[in-house]
Symmetry: D2
Subunit: 241 residues, 4 copies
């Protein structure tokens, strides 16, 4: 069981995700495990903490992800552009850390996720358990090599080094009008992929990147946060015809 | 009943959302209404069209929205940052065109949307019908003036000219840890709102803006599309404590 | 002779560059040519105009440029990154409309500009005359084919479709530590160029793009101007070793 | 005397600005001071260095600047938008580190710079000496309090906490059509300034921000550099009427 806790010190908010089975040690003092359910929590140093049940997103933000992580802003684009919903069947390759599959599963009916690297499958399994995701089916399969057996999918997501190699094995999964969305850290990957989409029966192609900027606001101070502009990749969107 | 159809002319893809109860007239020729269910559709000029059932997003992109529309990229941020899912209760004010409420309803359990301008309520009603949205409850109420009666909401969304005026009437709806997310075309609105969040019991404040850029890719041509950078507003995110 | 004039109508400022040899006809009325030197100018409709001598930049903003114009923000980057100054010798290829050569000439000692397309040379000649630029030497030469004879240049600027083809003919112009700066509308051009810089003796490579955004401010209205985000190209900067 | 030197280690370029009066110690070994003028420089570890005379920009990039430094991209915008050139008279306030005044002086006829904080004036004096800038006149004066005596300036630049307070004391310096350009880290500063420009006789107002992004290119790797997006401030541009 986990709890999200936070306190305000010198006007700044600090937040933690804590394991309620153990005492929690922080700079602000120690919280005893039997105190987590109290209405008001105080450390032995007298600092007051606020406490609430973590939501999916609190847990999601804690999962370990690799170097070139896909950020919520990009996952959000996949959800918004595809109109993904609780009737949707999704094919996802590769699984990687399982972060994308988990997030999509929260909004879809079922997600089939494909990867053949044992280290990925192991990490992803832990991710699904940690987030309590039930509607993901993991398939140990190399999508560069073998056709994906799912039919009538509404969405195929690709987060692969060479997504164009997977095209012949995944486009047949999609129903007419279904979406293929590939996430590419490199613009050159997007280029190589886009140039073979049409011959694979995919049209209505769109390539976007999201530059998200955080702002700092307090009183009369209103400015973009220094160095807090996130770019992670180029998102290629196309539809099966 | 509607169908999405598209054809390729001179290498460019054109797409239309058509009413299948009527013949469809286009530059590429006429399609007779009895032809919409054929596997291959041809106009009287011999141009071949592809046809598929429109998804939620195809319909969504057709709804009439006002001047300062919230784009999918920003709606996506609300969904991703809040971890909205099919267990979530949402309070939304003001309703406006009903576009945001509809999109949130696709991912939530129930959306209560508030507005007191008759012209908005009328437009929104049409939006919900057109998109087939069932889990939205419309409330004719001015949130600047009267407390919202919903309890234990997971998310409150504000798209109001003076969102700070609504705070005392909506924060009591939120459960502990619940999200308040306000969309502001003006940075000055974001400023005025942020500066009163804490005294209304909202913390973990984050302000983001999304700059989305489209790219043009064919062959060796790889460049940002001219003039296709979208910014629409500043998104303020905070949590009830 | 030209004058810059402007008036305020309904709170909005309109400005024109006018030829003082002729009467000027505008929506706000007619200004007689003999009135341009008056302290206060009024049209026959009684609208008051302000008037001043145009500066270089007023004239520059009027010159005709092709489809993929280099904007002041990108020219500015060339000036700032290279430390160009009135002791600098510049080699510029291709001349195109002459816009870049003119702007660089304003800050340099001498600019040698190379192009071999007669239509460009003709347009550029008019640009130099219109702007009163004296320190530009135009050379009718194809830099893909023949070595540039200039020695000890401080800066080489390239605005060419295939800048990598010009490298062997221009790098020998540069003095040690001199800058080569190429403007590329396509990221793929930047890629092809960067990948051969080192073998041509160019190091300290930097690739930047400038996204410039205009804001609208009046009273409490403070927001990015809709659609006013400019991107034009990728700027490759390197130094001769 | 200084030299710019650089070497390539493991495919990466390292560069240093060195004082030629002393031996230079680096991770790559020691370079003796008598070797700096040799055609080929080698450290005692046998690593080969390239060497060239530093340009203005090499020195400029070494000067100490405060927390909210104005970057070359923003200085460049001032130069490009104003059409500053070697006939231009500039009024600059406040002097701060002297960085902006130095850069403008490189392109202008004369720069008068105003500040009344002794610690700024001292740092700025060192900056001017280090960069060899001769055409800057430093004035120990508080521009919030006293009118600036310069006449017929082409450009006034403001880098002040409350630029609107300086307006009555600097606009009279400008000639008709001259530019006032203010650099503001906060959008709220830009707002407060813009809202009083017109009543101070300044029109043709434009507010821009530059988002500059660096790209990483080698072989097929082509992506924005992580975290290398620079924003520093909002630039307000207006003209004296």
């Amino acid at each position: 069981m986990a709890k999200k806790i936070l306190c305000t010190v010198d006007g700044e908010v600090k937040s933690y995700l804590v394991d309620t089975a153990k005492d929690f040690h922080t700079k602000e003092g120690i919280i005893k495990k039997e105190d987590f359910n109290k209405k008001v929590i105080k450390t032995n140093k007298g600092i007051q903490f606020y406490c609430f049940d973590p939501t999916f997103i609190d847990l999601f933000n804690k999962i370990k992800r690799g170097a070139q992580i896909m950020l919520p802003k990009d996952i959000a684009t996949i959800i918004a552009e595809s109109g993904l919903n609780n009737q949707s069947i999704v094919v996802d390759a590769g699984t990687g850390s399982g972060a994308l599959a988990s997030f999509l599963a929260l909004h879809a009916k079922k997600v089939y996720t494909f990867d053949n690297r044992p280290e990925h499958l192991e990490v992803a399994k832990k991710t699904f358990e940690f987030l309590g995701v039930k509607n993901v089916v993991v398939k140990d399969q190399d999508v560069y090599e073998k056709k994906v057996a799912v039919k009538n999918a509404d969405l195929v997501t690709l987060d692969l080094r060479e997504p164009w190699r997977a095209l012949p094995n995944v486009t047949s999964c999609l129903k007419k009008g279904g979406f293929l969305i590939a996430y590419n850290p490199q613009i050159t990957q997007a280029q190589e992929l886009v140039n073979v989409l049409e011959k694979n029966g995919l049209l209505l192609i769109k390539v976007v990147e999201n530059i998200q900027r955080e702002w700092e606001i307090y009183g009369q101070v209103v400015r973009p946060k220094f160095g807090r502009i996130a770019h992670t990749g180029f998102i290629v969107i196309a539809r099966k015809i």
